[in-house]
Symmetry: C2
Subunit: 457 residues, 2 copies
Amino acid sequence: MDENEKKLHEKFDLLKGYLDKEDNLRFRKTYLDMHFYDQSTFYLTLDAEERQKLYGILQPNEMGDMFDTLQDDLPEIPDFLLEMDVKYAADMLNYMYDDNAADVLEHLDKSHVDEFLEQMPKADANNLRGLLHYDTETAGGIMTTDYVEFNESIKAGEAIQDLRKFAETAETIYYLYLLDDHKDLVGVMSLRDLILQKPEVNLRDVMNTDIISVNVDEEQEEVAKVFRDYEFLAVPVVDHANHMVGIITVDDVIEVIDDEAQQDYSGLAAVNVDESEHDGPLKAASKRLPWLITLLLLSMFTATLVNHYEGLLAQASILAVFISTITGTAGNAGTQSLAVAVRRLAVDEIDKSDFFKLIGKELLTGFVTGFVTGVSVFLIVGIWKSNFVLGFVIGLAMCAAIMVANLAGSLIPMMMASFGFDPAVASGPFISTLSDLTSVLIYFSIAGVFISHFVGS
Amino acid sequence: MDENEKKLHEKFDLLKGYLDKEDNLRFRKTYLDMHFYDQSTFYLTLDAEERQKLYGILQPNEMGDMFDTLQDDLPEIPDFLLEMDVKYAADMLNYMYDDNAADVLEHLDKSHVDEFLEQMPKADANNLRGLLHYDTETAGGIMTTDYVEFNESIKAGEAIQDLRKFAETAETIYYLYLLDDHKDLVGVMSLRDLILQKPEVNLRDVMNTDIISVNVDEEQEEVAKVFRDYEFLAVPVVDHANHMVGIITVDDVIEVIDDEAQQDYSGLAAVNVDESEHDGPLKAASKRLPWLITLLLLSMFTATLVNHYEGLLAQASILAVFISTITGTAGNAGTQSLAVAVRRLAVDEIDKSDFFKLIGKELLTGFVTGFVTGVSVFLIVGIWKSNFVLGFVIGLAMCAAIMVANLAGSLIPMMMASFGFDPAVASGPFISTLSDLTSVLIYFSIAGVFISHFVGS
């Protein structure tokens, strides 16, 4: 990609030159020939003064094409809109695909949103207002209402003719949605199938009636699953009365999949990994500290527990040597089983009967891993310290601690999911800090029983 | 989706009834009306005998449409192919999109692959053999050669006519690729733009010449980035001489994004989260144990280190109380900074000047988090034990341990990336086990300096 990038930067330098010299004609030619995404990359390199020049050169619709590709959560977007003439900004928003326009407006103050909407034709403003009502992480929040619909009685030839009208505005023309006289969605047809039809064929007779649709308040992860399974480029969105209200296109689903992956990853590490590059160390620290301090407080319980066994430690300070080995290894095992459980929950719905089967399996897995790890540590410690009773204590404690951590690692996310929480919040650090507590309890309980056998031997 | 699932299962029961009664006509009608993905879900519910009946009822091309949607890494796929008549299987593979056929063949023994390829027309077999040569995780490994290409001199009207020929075989007809007389890729046009053109227009004059393509040995993550940025439905793949060799479609990219997310997530937890549901506890344990045992051995160094300080511990067994608090919290901080670094590496290329800026920032972030956490623990321990010297020792050790863990968490993945390794392999458990070692060293060193001040006070 480096060759591409170099060519792009040369083009950017050229464009800045035209902008300086106010050579608007050459600027427009070069700029409009670029991909919308490259246009937006260029836009983001400009300062306020240069941007003002740009607004003078480009029409609102040309600006809108570029804004369609901007990430709606860029922190600068509100400033961009507010530095534009209100009418210009409203026109631009109106030319954008309505799902993108709604995403942009979601990041503005309500008063500014109203200001822009007032400048738009009433029908368009109401349409956007409707989209703004949906929860952002549902089908309604990511759908667009710019799609191609026909009455099912249309003929193939007419449909191809009429499609041209949609080609300018619809977000995709590669699927046609066919409605009956009650506006119910009754069929779908791809453009690919359409061009294979004879012009005089009624679409009603050849359309696909086995419609896969999503409900308007379906969660976005569920929508992503439909795309993964069926490999669609777009999916229709219907309300509870099966009236079609919009479509979701595959580019928005890629964003959803990325966001979900990011959230899961952040959850596992107990940090929001979406820290902006522009965040300074203070900002970054302020995002990480709440988790760290919470976990620190949790770990103080472990400290109190060890404190409770201070008598035992005074008798056998050798016990202190293996605290971190046991807590660390059990924490690692717990993190593994947590990750497996969270991932499985993300892929499948798990019902009651599966629940007990999975817990049973995890218990057995914990037993096997615990046993193998326990035997290893028994041998290592036994040989190292020439004390197989001590080795046995450490090994047994390790085995039990791993079993408990494994069980907690799968039980906690599954219980969270069944209570309706996002299981990905149960992070690796949380599980390992929690398992420190149980590991220490197990360790000192076992050590207490055997202490007379390994001390002084 | 539950309503949809119920309807689907009713349909499956119906289909099984037809299969039992050998009512092939009704079976074909119901089966072929379903989406390919639903067909494949049905196929996976059949036993060997029922599948044999299916092979008798369906044509190889109908079978191929369904096989196109099967996950190529399903462990049963080789068995499915080998239970078919060789000629039937070869025909089916030939009807499949060639990227999918190649993916399926990749999971078979070489001898079986040759057997199937021998049954195919020579050109098709050679084509597949070509695809099998590419590394599976590169552009070549996920591309298809079933795309629409024209000479740039074609007129819009002719192109639409000729497109019908491609509609049956090409994986997407929504982009047309235009070649010059040397077969170099010189232009791209979407079907959407094509239908807006007058029939007599030369595509050469209206095609998009600002072509974004990927090189055949580009890594698949880089390909995914292009799709994310430009929101394409397909991207052309070219060889080093800019000759077009294939296209990559968005459905394959969704798979790539999922796979990459899974790998990152697995890396962070030090476990392959893609454990099959069908894996028994032994299999699952055998996948998790290598990491656990490796980390156990690493943690034995920590144990040896604590052992080295046994004299100190014997003097002040209170020190043992805070071992797990310090190692645990530093490990959590290290995991956070690791996750941030790995994620940033996945999104951006990081060059030398960024490297030092990022490390500097991470050092400062570590200082702030370490300082705040250190002060907290100083107060907690000081008040709890009425011993602010001890509190100071624990707080100072905590602060230093967090700073080191933070630095390691970002330095290790960045160094791995710059040596060409996948940074996601540096897992959370690895970082926290490693940081146990440094934390213990820091803790006892500081405690050693101050021991006379807090013991016996």
